[in-house]
Amino acid sequence: MKWKVPYILVYSVMVIYSSFISFPLWSLLVSLIPIMQRRGIVGGEVLAVFLSFFMLSRTEHLYIYPYVVRAFTFLNLFFASSEHLDIISLLDIGGEKALPLVVTMVYFPLFYQIAAQVFFYRRARRKPFSPLKLSRPILVEVVKVAENLYRAYTVKLYGNLKKDAKLTPSRDDLVPLALGVVALCLSYLLPISVAGLS
């Protein structure tokens, strides 16, 4: 399911706003819905939310708890955006200037893989940790990737960019809108008030 940039932004604004109306439990629950498939993250977060409550109540710092819940909500918005963002819509809004951003986002897994491999090889070779020495193979590889990418750009993206900024939402785009509205309504109509917390 892919969401266009404007609808992700509207969804995020609605969820963030709802997290300030009352205790942010509804906004947290709504923000978990788009990332339910990432069971590890969801499970870890639920555990962390409960643990935080117990630890903060034990240490008599429960007034911090709404901020903790809000922080998890914002994290979930980031995960949902990275999972569901329709990167093509970035092009439609930003034009050719957005193209480097769109392509850079594609290469995060590759650069992560390169760094992980270099660190593994250093450990396997029993070499002492040295940022200078570790940076050499990474930089060489980054330059190679940049050179290849430049050539790929040149041969694949010939012609003039035609923006296709469709603002009308698709069926997929209705989902974040609906979720945002749900978060707002629940926060307004069924505000959660926990003793001593807001």
């Binding site: 491999q117 050499r136 790929a152 960019l161």
Partner: protein, 369 residues
């Protein structure tokens, strides 16, 4: 007709829309430089039907697929990549669906090696260029993956390769690129082993000297497998891409000094001497002249030589090689065979992960994964 030539070289390459042509040459002969010149920043000129290509840079006429798939994608899925390209010019989504099948919407980083090559070739073919230049499309692919890639290479292709065996059955003509010029070859030449050997091409059998095996250097269980290596022995881990050869070598690292696939990610020093650190080893592996050079500036064969020399210097008794022939030409393979001979004479053990038929004659024993 596409004509490719250079003012620095004798001869020229001619390619008609209805044929596939091979461009053969050893590493460093200029095959990649030729293909990269399609961006009009290299020493080769392209003429299409008598007109200079770089005057218009119309990439609907000529397109190119470069060597490394993972650094030429523009999106995580082919569908998204074609949507980006479609913002610039017309793209044939139907053709892409036909060529990629169920993998049109699959994350590139989850595809097999064969389908990654197929992804990048399809992304170029979807623009329906008249001519396609392919730089080593079969590099590091096993038999199944090669078949997957061969299925999608169209007419009007120039295929730059040193893996002669893979291209000779599928091309109509062939050229040899050397430092002196461009030479058209007869098809029969592609089966001539001494020609291939003398010009640094692949497709010939290696001659191997067997040595007596000494004491056991390594005898460990890894999962359900038993890995045992003796002095002077070459144990090969064989199997297709994705069968677990690299994973097995990773599990053995610590007991074995493993040289993995991308040499550039395994060089950390600013000179060859910094990597090897021993004069006697530099002498043994014929690296003295390269002592003060940056290892990153060396050829692929030289980098492998540096890595094997540093493995030797490390003192590890067993050395692992993960697909060492991936980007090697015929000279590189002969050089690898010499280095393996040196290691065997020095009573080291070798574990080599490979699916390359050209080097299986080096194996004394095998584990098939």
């Amino acid at each position: 007709m596409l004509v490719i030539s250079s003012s620095n070289l004798r001869g020229r390459i001619e390619l008609n829309p209805g044929e596939r042509v091979a461009l053969l040459g050893r590493n460093g002969s200029g095959k990649s430089t030729l293909i990269n010149s399609v961006t009009c920043e290299g020493p080769f000129d392209f003429h299409v039907d008598g007109r200079e290509f770089c005057d218009t840079r119309d990439y609907s006429l000529i397109s190119a697929v470069f060597q490394e798939p993972s650094s030429q994608i523009l999106a995580r899925t082919l569908e998204d990549e074609l949507k980006i390209m479609a913002r610039f010019h017309e793209v044939d989504f139907e053709l892409a669906r036909k060529l990629m099948g169920p993998y049109l919407k699959t994350d590139f980083f989850r595809l097999s090696d064969g389908y990654r090559k197929r992804y990048v070739i399809t992304s170029v073919l979807a623009s329906k260029p008249r001519y396609v230049l392919l730089d080593e499309p079969f590099s590091n692919l096993d038999e199944n993956a090669i078949r997957l890639v061969k299925e999608v290479i169209p007419q009007g292709s120039l295929i730059a390769e040193h893996r002669t065996r893979e291209v000779r059955d599928m091309v109509d003509r062939a050229y040899l690129l050397t430092r002196d010029g461009i030479l058209e070859l007869s098809k029969e030449t592609l089966w001539d082993e001494s020609f291939l050997r003398n010009h640094g091409l692949r497709g010939f059998k290696l001659k191997v000297e067997r040595v007596e095996h000494g004491n056991t250097l390594l005898d460990v269980g890894v999962g359900s497998l038993r890995v045992k290596v003796r002095e002077g022995e070459v144990l090969c881990l064989t199997g297709p891409n994705g069968s677990g050869k690299t994973s097995l070598l990773k599990k053995l690292s610590g007991k074995v000094y493993v040289i993995f696939q991308n040499p550039d990610l395994q060089l950390f020093e600013d000179t060859v001497w910094g990597e090897v650190k021993r004069d006697d080893v530099m002498e043994l592996f014929n690296l003295k002249e390269l002592r003060d050079r940056s290892p990153f500036a060396l050829s692929m064969g030289e980098k492998m030589r540096v890595l094997i020399a540093s493995a030797f210097s490390s003192g590890f008794r067993v050395i692992g090689l993960d697909e060492p022939t991936a980007a090697m030409d015929g000279y590189g393979i002969q050089s690898l065979a010499e280095m393996i001979s040196i290691l065997k004479e020095e009573k080291r053990g070798i574990i080599m992960a490979t699916h390359d038929d050209d080097v299986l004659t080096l194996c004394d024993s095998r584990i098939d994964l």
